[in-house]
Amino acid sequence: MMPKLIKKIEFDKTISKWFKSYDVIAPVSSKEGIHFKRIKDPKEIKLDGNQNSIYPPKNVFLPQSEVLFTVKNDNYEMPDQAPRKRIVFGMRPCDARAVWLLDTIFNKADDLDLYWGKRREKALIISVGCASMCSNGFCDTVGSGPFGKDGSDILITELDDAYFVDPLTSAGEALIKSLPEADDTQGKNAKLIQKGSVIKEHQAADLPRIREKLYEAFNTSIWKDVSESCLGCGVCTYLCPTCFCFDIVDEIDRSERVRNWDTCMFRVYSAEASGHNPRPTKAERTRQRIMHKFAYWVDNEAASGCTGCGRCISQCPVNLDIREMVQEITSLKIQ
């Protein structure tokens, strides 16, 4: 597929053209930092440096709360949740990879989640690679990278006066077919930027080893040690681009069945009706979070469930650092 080019002076014009047939969702400035929302003017887009949003864009496909159906006169009515086609512009490769990972959960051919499936079907993901890695990011160690391609329909590399636009799927290619082609020099420059973006000291995580070590440590007290300062809030999981747990609740007053994000870090998440809680303390809950990311995902998809975006590290109120936790657990010597 031929790489294309958007000159910076023509950027607004190009994006505006998409407004006719698509809702365009893009990173904009907001009170807490960068936030993904539907834009009406390309000037709203904020792509400065390598800053990612605090709230992950997974909510484009898995909203924090959504009505699954309403019961009216004995009929079940499903809401039309994505009537228009959508472009998610400016997703970072870590978040696009997260969507790709979540497709293995929600978008299976034989076990499709209708809500996720419909939204995915009607959406294109245009990622913008990170010329330099963000402070707490470690995408390059968990199977992706600042220019990782998984999940994206188009991957953009920012050049001095233009955007180098690389289509990765046929849908992506169709969207940009009228754009001018990039020449060889631009292609070379883009390659240079992509190569220069990784941090040399970073080493790829040895996922099979980590997985094995985690299973070995399953019944040890290390989990209590690493989770001692955990507050039990939902910051790490709600801000995680791959955490997808949800709770289904009937809002009886409105005759609605709704789905809300939920998190294994909450005590009530695993509390059972009998009063028994199979994950009674923070140690078991933290174990679940780490095992899910670095053992169960590896079991099921041979990939890490962590895309290395670093949000949980930057935003944790007590600075619990998943890198440090995994390091500590896997270096444990078990008799």
Binding site: S30, K31, E32, G33, I54, Y55, Q64, S65, C134, S135, N136, E228, S229, L231, G232, C233, G234, V235, Y238, L239, D247, V249, E251, V258, N260, W261, T263, F266, V268, T281, K282, I313, S314, Q315, P317, V318, N319, L320, D321, R323, E324
Partner: protein
Amino acid sequence: MDDFSQVRKEAARILSEKIVDMVIGFKQGTIPLKSQPMFITSQEDTDKLILDGFCQNNLAVFLHDQPKDKRIGIICRACESRAVRALVIEHQVNRENLYLIGVPCMGILDWKKIQDAADGPVTNAQESGDQILLEIGDKKQVLIRNEFIVDSCRGCGHREPIDVDIQIGEISPIEMNADNLPQTWGESFKSKSADERFQLFTEETERCIRCYACREACPMCYCTECFVDHIAPRWSESMVTPGGTQAWHIIRAFHQTGRCVECGACERACPMDIKMVYLTDKLNDDMKKEYGFEVGENEEKQPPFATITLDDKNRFKY
């Protein structure tokens, strides 16, 4: 604090003399501008203890999970000492099993504001007197410390740790030069009309993602089951809607009436940068005005809204 080694020595002493089983303090964080709470059981680890403006939590929150009969030492800034007293008054901790090491506090720093003011991603940050020294890769940058003190610490009227077992270090005044600083959020909120205030409240709460970091970071939020988690009866809508989120913020604040120690740990824990201290501050002001009650000033008095007396001048109406 200039000489923190005394605090480390005291922590090591109470551990070695078996006065306590554990000391709660802070250690260096894994990333710049952050620190980590630390639970020390062996005296060698006391060397790792630190205290600076990046220690953003209220350590008293960690007493919730500890058995009441465990003997615990805790490095106490004024906020932590007030929280401990409030927890003692509400029978949540046994004061005799705690050993409070009082330390001075120069105000907690807003790491997000510092990062925003920096010329790039901060790779190292140190406090030095009234300055914050930043390293951004090879570059260096100096910020004025007072400009980055969080709102809840700027107006702090309780800088002296109370009821401590030992006080280390002197409480020196913070020269705020408040004239040069913009109004705090709470002050500017107060000066607005009711409609404007509701607008601001709406704008703040609509960013809420219900991660409940505010609740979990709060030393006074210790209910084993929070009202939002209650299923029968259901007090709060399950969906993250503007109405449900506003209800959460209002009820959370009301449950803190006359109990909030004004440490601001809730606001600092919030990933979405939502202002909330102004709500509890207002409720505490009312408690002072209406009942002459202030959290932590007295060893016995229960918070007015947690008390019932037979000679109450106001009868219950129904």
